[in-house]
């Protein structure tokens, strides 16, 4: 049935697809999160805020599916990761969900009443719905890099031995800030291409330039933290890449600087951090030259590069345990069966191109700069 791909290959493909999904989420929903987080600061009048909201209004819903699909795909391909991460980060996940729930209703309900107090409340909801998920996702990635206090018993039942406040350390907060900065850069680059030229456009451009510089600084700080912050893990015994998905059989050990080992062994991987830096610089350059396409292209490359850097530095770790040498989740021991990975791969190969195709078509139909006049005239707008 799946003689086409052996088990290790399927696992690596699904590890890469996990990265594709995360990058898809960061790129597609990233600008929605960024625009929402910028809403109260850039939009000084109701009309300006409506211009910002309607720049993402017709398409944010499809973008959010990247997040939902991320959940479903991790469940299907990496059940142990799905179980361990979402139950481990329980309250953080609740905070993210509560914030994300505010977004659909905020977009839709804000325009239903004209009162300023009604709209201000939904502006607050949209701001929270943009900022909080961006921050918590970054903090979560930071925790994964640091190692998560998870332990598996002999039934492979996972338990989390940390606390909610324990999720916030200097390293994880740094990751959280970097994630927020990425989203803000992406959001303002999106506004730069989607809004009519004017005061609001100019403000978006300036925030974009600031966050581009901030992203470079935070990413560099993250790199230094990985090198000198005493973080990292490595395998301490042989693991069979084709072995059964049973994390108890692997042996891992914490090792300071462990996340840089892959880059030393495979220098080509340096492409990823180079993209992370280069993309942000490209965005900065594009914004300063008032280019339309370059900022968005730059911020997209930067986000993709930063996410890929995290993935590559940890390979084959997906979620290292900080409390137990036999509870780390690896590409080689936390996946679904070969049969499920293969079936899911077939589904993805058929369906994902279709999704990209009609999404591109919908964007094309709805493309164009949002103008202040249109916001007032168009009855279908939020």
């Amino acid at each position: 049935m799946h003689s086409l791909f052996d088990y290790p290959t399927l696992r690596v493909i699904w590890w890469a697809l996990l990265g594709v999904l995360l990058i898809g989420f960061a790129l597609a929903d990233g600008w929605d999160l960024g625009v929402c987080a910028l809403l109260p600061f850039l939009g000084r009048t109701d009309q300006e805020r409506r211009m910002m909201i309607n720049s993402v209004g017709p398409t944010w819903e499809g973008n959010q599916v990247w997040f939902i699909l991320g959940g479903g795909a991790i469940f299907a391909a990496w059940p142990f990761v799905y179980a361990a991460s979402f139950s481990g980060f329980y309250l953080a996940m609740f905070v993210v969900l509560a914030a994300l729930i505010m977004r659909p209703v905020g977009f839709k309900y804000r325009s239903k009443k004209p009162e300023a107090s009604w709209r201000a409340r939904w502006d607050g909801a949209l701001f929270v719905g943009g900022l909080v998920p961006a921050l918590v996702f970054g903090v979560a990635v930071g925790n994964v890099l640091q190692g998560v206090p998870i332990r598996l018993d002999d039934d492979l039942r996972v338990s989390f031995e940390g606390s909610f406040l324990g999720l916030f350390t200097p390293t994880t907060l740094l990751c959280g800030l970097l994630s927020v900065s990425m989203m803000l850069l992406h959001g303002s680059s999106f506004l730069a291409i989607r809004l009519e030229h004017g005061a609001l456009h100019e403000r978006a451009r300036r925030v974009g330039m600031a966050t581009a510089i901030l992203s470079v600084l935070l990413f560099a700080a993250g790199g230094l933290d990985m090198a000198f912050g005493g973080i990292g893990f490595r395998l301490s015994g042989a693991v069979d890449p084709a072995g059964p998905s049973n994390p108890l059989r692997a042996d891992t050990v914490a090792e300071a600087g462990g996340w840089l080992l892959n880059f030393a062994a495979h220098p080509w991987m340096m492409i990823a951090p180079a993209l992370g830096f280069g993309g942000a610089v490209l965005a900065l350059f594009g914004l300063s030259r008032r280019s339309d396409v370059l900022p968005l292209a730059g911020s997209a490359l930067s986000s993709a590069g930063i996410i890929a850097t995290v993935g590559l530095s940890m390979f084959p770790f997906v979620m290292p345990s900080s409390v137990d040498a036999h509870s780390s989740l690896l590409v080689w021991n936390a996946s679904s069966s070969a049969r499920t990975l293969f079936n899911m791969l077939i589904s993805t190969v058929i369906l994902l191109p279709l999704v990209l195709l009609y999404t591109a078509w919908v964007y094309r139909v709805l493309w164009g700069r949002v103008t202040g006049a249109e916001v007032i005239a168009n009855r279908d707008f939020y």
């Binding site: 799905y82 979402f86 239903k112």
Partner: protein, 521 residues
């Protein structure tokens, strides 16, 4: 695992799922009603049908976002609150959820933007296409989530793998074409169509009673009456009882719904009314109608409907057999190459889940006494009085809906839109199908207890290793958020209905630059 903790986890899941299911059925049905209305607009080119479509589209939009918002919780709740279930069954259960995202959520969510924002950017046919894609997407999502749920009810195509200590798929096709999933899909989407039809019918009736918006109301009513009649017939006739003969647990659900304490000779009668006594195993003051149950449940005259006591006796045998498998698994944990244990597991693994029933209350099930085994077997009986009454209330509403739509259909055909008694009935019927849908969830999911996965994993073992404090935080948090949103949503729908289909003096387009108030007020 602490039973109070398990109950809290179940309470949260029930709360979030039942709440989610207030909005989803309306989305399922209203999306297709919009397709029908817009089809008529495209074919006739008459402006009134555009107005009809856009009006119901606005209500669709207000409802749709809450379905999406509460669906976010559902997608992650398996991982946050049922992590052992997730890792134990993710190899099978995760796939339909992922495909749901790829095939259904992307479709509906991408085209819903076009549906609302594309009126001036697309041709008439182009816009109809977008509306149709939304309807297709929402209904496909129902299909995939019910394939996932159907597997929990009837876990086909999977096997326990001792090397990974979890269930793994052996036949993906069997999971996809699970007959329980198919019965559930037809029944659930039909219920959604009924809910949407009642909504359109009731609001139109309200307009006619108030002597407002006659043109829109009559047309809406005609569409709702015909669509609703077909849907209510389908929901009742194609009820998912047809799947209740497939496995022991499904048989137990049927027996509990019918309060069939003992196996009755075929064809079994149905108890229309009575008071099930869960202790004495009798139904008091029962009114029986002969033959009907046998016909509904087994679609035959000579297959008996198995009673609860006989099913409990069978469960007891399966626990004993399951203990052999359980001991083999423990041996394989110590030595994966223990051939005798492998062989024992292969012979008894279909009963492994029954041994796990004991695991809920004792560290080592292999020490279980016969009395404990018997008690565990009786645990396989779900809450009979609740199921008995929930099912009857749901079925009664179902028949009432058929009557309502039949009358509506006749009156619409005769163009008698002025029958006050009927219009009052139609308004009064508004909450009924929602009650039926929620009860349907109760029958399906309470009837599945004590299993998370029928015969495979008891609910008591499935939750995450969380603390009660964590659960209380989210339980209270979700209740507050959901409660607030429910009030706001209801207010907005009432406001939209009160405002009516006229678009010329609506709130959104504000002239000039209104100063934005500061964020933190």
């Amino acid at each position: 695992m602490d039973p109070g903790f398990v109950d809290l986890s179940r309470l949260q899941f029930a709360l979030t799922a039942l709440y989610h299911f207030l909005f989803v059925p309306l989305t399922l049905g209203l999306s297709f009603l919009l397709v029908i209305m817009e089809c008529i607009y495209v074919m006739t080119g008459r402006e009134i049908w555009r107005q009809v479509t856009r009006f119901w589209g606005r209500i669709f939009g207000i409802n749709f976002v809450l379905g999406v918002a509460t669906g976010l919780t559902m997608e992650f709740e398996f991982g946050t609150n049922w992590s052992y279930f997730s890792s134990y069954a993710g190899d099978i259960f995760g796939a339909p959820l992922a495909i749901e995202g790829l095939m259904a959520f992307f479709l509906e969510a991408t085209f819903v933007g076009l549906m609302f924002f594309g009126w001036n950017r697309l041709s008439r046919v182009g816009h109809l296409f977008a509306t149709f894609m939304v309807a297709l997407g929402t209904n496909l999502s129902a299909l995939w989530i019910l394939i996932a749920n159907g597997w929990m009810q009837n876990p086909v195509g999977a096997r326990f793998n001792p090397e990974t200590m979890r269930m793994e798929v052996v036949d993906f096709g069997a999971v996809l074409f699970n007959p329980v999933a198919q019965a559930k899909f037809v029944h659930t989407v039909s219920a959604g169509y009924v809910i949407a039809s009642v909504m359109v019918l009731g609001v139109s009736a309200l307009y006619l009673l108030q002597d407002r918006w006659h043109q829109v109301a009559r047309r809406s009513m005609a569409v709702a009456a015909s669509f609703g009649l077909a849907a209510s017939l389908s929901a009742v006739v194609l009820g998912d009882e047809s799947g209740y003969t497939l496995s022991d647990n499904q048989k137990m659900k049927l027996a509990a719904v019918e309060a069939a304490w003992h196996t009755a000779p075929a064809p079994a009668g149905i108890t229309v009314f009575g008071f099930p006594d869960a202790r004495a195993h009798v139904t008091r003051a029962a009114i029986d109608v002969p033959w009907v149950l046998g016909l509904i449940a087994t679609r035959s005259l000579d297959t008996p409907v198995i009673g609860i006591e006989e099913l409990v006796a069978k469960a007891q045998d399966r626990i004993v057999s399951g203990l052999v498998a359980y001991k083999a698994v423990q041996a394989l944990k110590r030595n994966p190459n223990d051939l005798a244990a492998r062989e024992a597991l292969a012979l008894h693994q279909h009963d492994l889940g029954y041994a796990l029933l004991l695991r809920r209350s004792m560290r080592d099930p292999s020490q279980a006494t016969p009395a404990q085994i018997e008690a565990a077997a009786w645990d396989t009986v779900p809450d009979v009085p609740v199921l008995f009454w929930a099912f009857r209330a749901m079925a009664a509403i179902g028949f009432a809906m058929i009557a309502l739509f039949a009358i509506a259909f006749v009156l619409c055909t005769l163009r008698r839109f002025d029958r006050r008694w009927f219009l009052l009935c139609a308004v009064a019927a508004l909450p009924l199908p929602w009650i039926a849908a929620e009860l349907g969830w109760v029958v399906a999911e309470l009837g599945r207890q004590p299993w998370a996965i029928d015969g495979v994993l008891p609910t008591g073992l499935a939750p995450s290793s969380l603390t009660r404090a964590q659960l209380w935080v989210t339980l209270v948090g979700f209740t507050l958020i959901y409660g607030t949103l429910a009030v706001i949503e209801f207010g907005l729908i009432v406001r939209t209905v009160r405002h009516g289909p006229d678009e010329h003096d609506e709130a959104p387009p504000l002239p000039g630059n209104l100063p934005a108030t500061p964020l933190v007020a």
